[in-house]
């Protein structure tokens, strides 16, 4: 890998954190056969929930933060709890204390306290063609597919190193070749709402790590958020194209690609497959965190169908503050709107054994990360089903 004078300088004579960051980026670059390190315009780091990283992660982050300072705008993934309302989430004092230390460490580095898996909704929104270093698989997929920015699926430390060094190794999704389609997915079903999650679960599994090219799909940005989250959960997919829908579809190169088809029946089947429970204790909405439009939608659904089981809604602080009225409505009907955290990185297992959710990503991770059974379904249907 070729390094510039300035990069060599940082590697050999930077602060301890800068030297570590450069060593890590160079080694990863060598492993993935990058030719050089390229500047990034933003970073999004993962590894913030104490539930996910545990004491080893806490230890690393505190150590690293001691001498580190981010040099590009950097946001960070959800924590394991709402920093203000963790008691309502039945989080223990020990967990909360350690979680607060992780949050403090990121703050000390200059990371923006977004605690969000939807950075693109709250001001960390790369432009077309920007190179960025993002962790959080759903946001990576959104940045590549919907925004046309360029990022690999970074691990937490690699994204953090990039935020401190301001560069990332040039390989994979930073290169035109890495962004070509690997499979054509003909969607022969009407995709709307929750079905984007179902289609994502299927396509992620079938494309296993490749770049699917969808035909017959039209969706809003919110719809694509759900498609991204699901598709990145069942496979390592970091990008897709939608014919006439996403910014790089003309560059996908379809000649000779294998094809697959998604039908109504496939969608119904995958929903059944991921529905492992029967009677939910709680409705969990998030994974990824909701947008303000979605909060408004949820408030209307709750007005119409007052739920008989608890409803936990996850969003980011800025979105909650923007949608204050919807949040108040949700809370007035007994729902709880938590910020700083999300569906499966918090301790939902402290209050529930079966979660009802429309999130495909939630359906993948709730069983393994939270020991939950799942009722997967369209959100309006779930509210009708669990109406008082």
């Amino acid at each position: 890998m070729r390094l510039s004078q300035r990069q060599k300088q940082l590697r050999d004579h930077g602060t301890a954190a800068e030297r570590t960051a450069m060593r890590l980026l160079i080694a990863l670059g060598e492993i993935y056969e990058a030719d050089r390190l390229i500047p990034i315009t933003s970073a999004h780091v993962a590894g913030a929930s104490y539930k996910m990283v545990g004491d080893p992660g806490l230890e690393f982050i505190e150590d690293f933060a001691a001498g580190a300072r981010v040099v590009v705008p950097t946001t960070v993934n959800p924590l394991g709890m709402d920093l203000d309302r963790w008691r309502e989430q039945k989080i223990t004092h020990d967990f909360a204390a350690k979680q607060e230390r992780i949050a403090r460490a990121y703050r000390r580095m200059g990371v923006r306290e977004s605690f969000s898996c939807t950075p693109y909704l709250i001001g960390n929104r790369p432009r077309f063609g920007d190179h960025v270093a993002w962790a959080e698989s759903s946001a990576v997929c959104f940045a590549n597919s919907v925004l046309g920015a360029r990022t690999n699926r970074e691990g937490g430390p690699a994204a953090l190193a990039a935020s401190v060094a301001g560069v990332t190794p040039n390989y994979g999704f930073h290169l035109d070749e890495g962004r070509r389609a690997t499979m054509i997915v003909d969607v022969r079903a009407r995709l709307r709402g929750h079905r984007f999650s179902l289609a994502g679960l299927l396509a992620g599994r079938r494309a296993s790590g490749g770049v699917p090219y969808f035909r017959g799909v039209r969706g809003t940005e919110t719809d694509l958020k759900w498609l991204c989250a699901s598709i990145a959960s069942t496979g390592d997919t970091a990008m897709f194209h939608i014919e006439r829908g996403t910014p790089e579809w003309r560059r996908a190169r379809l000649k000779g690609l294998p094809r697959t088809r998604i039908t109504e029946r496939d969608l119904a089947e995958i929903e059944r497959e991921f529905t492992t429970g029967e009677d939910a204790d709680i409705i969990g909405l998030g994974s990824p965190q909701l947008s303000s439009e979605e909060l408004v939608e949820i408030s209307r659904l709750m007005e119409k169908n007052r739920p008989r089981i608890p409803v936990w809604v996850f969003t980011s602080r800025p979105v909650r503050d923007e949608a204050r009225r919807a949040v108040d409505t949700i809370e007035s009907f007994g729902g709880k709107v938590f910020v700083d955290t999300c569906l499966e990185v918090t301790m939902i297992e402290n209050v529930s054994k079966t979660v009802a959710t429309p999130s495909g990503k939630g359906a993948v991770y709730l069983p393994t990360l939270c020991g939950q059974k799942v009722v997967l379904g369209d959100v309006a249907r779930l509210f009708r089903r669990y109406a008082a």
Partner: protein, 262 residues
């Protein structure tokens, strides 16, 4: 003996080898306080990685494994060095954060638990002082699609009673192909063999030696063979039958490499 690979994490460290044949998970696979392997499916279960030159093919499992490796290194319970066949991001990240020298691109089957190894994470090399490399030639004779294998006698120094190609040690700086022809002459009486292919060097581990095998393929016009004291039986076999015979290590690989290289 020096094995060369690729430098991943800098630094030089020496330690006794602790070798696994399986991919390794640090989250849940290694106790983060003691550095003892807890993974019930691992061939290193119950072993402590602390201070060892830890050898395994590659990492697996959760990315939190990087933090575990870092934590072990920080409290002095980490491996002194790591040697991999093919490092992936989880182990590379943990090794760099924990300042553990790491070299990959090494055939880990050449290293055994108990070897003393010096892992040079700057040069990308692993030095194993107690083990020497012995270069050998192995020549396959072919006639009408069949290949000659011979059964080694009880009077030879190594691999007695096993099936092999025509083989012998390389002496000094002599050319491998000349040595191969000489062994053919001595062990089979054949002189007019026609060289068809040579394969890349294949290494295999003996006790305190690593054999570096130079494989060759010769075509011959007749199947008549005159054995000397080194072998007791000769057979012309189809290449795929070799896998069924008790052979010297990696004989099938050596044959496959010359057949493919043609």
């Amino acid at each position: 003996m020096k094995l060369t690979g690729r430098a991943v994490s800098a630094g030089v460290a020496e330690g006794l080898v602790l070798a696994s044949h399986q991919p390794m998970s640090f989250l849940g696979g290694v106790d983060r306080e003691s550095g003892v392997v807890t993974d019930g499916t691992s061939d290193l279960r119950g072993e402590a990685v602390a201070g060892k030159a830890l050898v395994f093919p590659h990492g697996k499992g959760s990315t939190v494994g990087s933090y575990v490796l870092f934590g072990l290194a920080k409290r002095g319970r980490g491996p002194a060095a790591i040697v991999n066949e093919r490092t992936e991001a989880i182990v590379a990240t943990g090794a760099i954060l924990g300042e553990i020298p790491l070299v990959d691109g090494i055939d880990v089957s050449l290293l055994r638990t108990g070897d003393r190894a010096i892992v040079d994470g700057r040069a990308g090399a692993v030095e194993v002082p107690g083990v020497v490399e012995r270069p050998v030639v192995t020549a396959f004779l072919r006639n009408r699609g069949r290949v000659l294998v011979v059964k080694r006698s009880e009077r030879v120094g190594t691999f007695r009673g096993m099936w092999s190609g025509i083989s012998g040690y390389l002496e000094g700086r002599e050319s491998p192909v000349r040595r191969a022809r000489q062994e053919l002459r001595e062990e089979t009486g054949i002189t007019g063999a026609h060289l068809r292919a040579r394969g890349p060097v294949i290494r295999t581990r003996g006790d305190a030696v690593i054999f570096a095998i130079h494989p060759f393929l010769f075509d011959v016009s007749a199947r008549r063979v005159r054995l000397d004291w080194e072998n007791v039986e000769a057979r012309w076999v189809a290449p795929k039958e070799i896998a069924k015979l008790p052979t010297v290590p990696r004989l099938a690989d050596a044959l496959a490499s010359v057949l493919a290289g043609r």
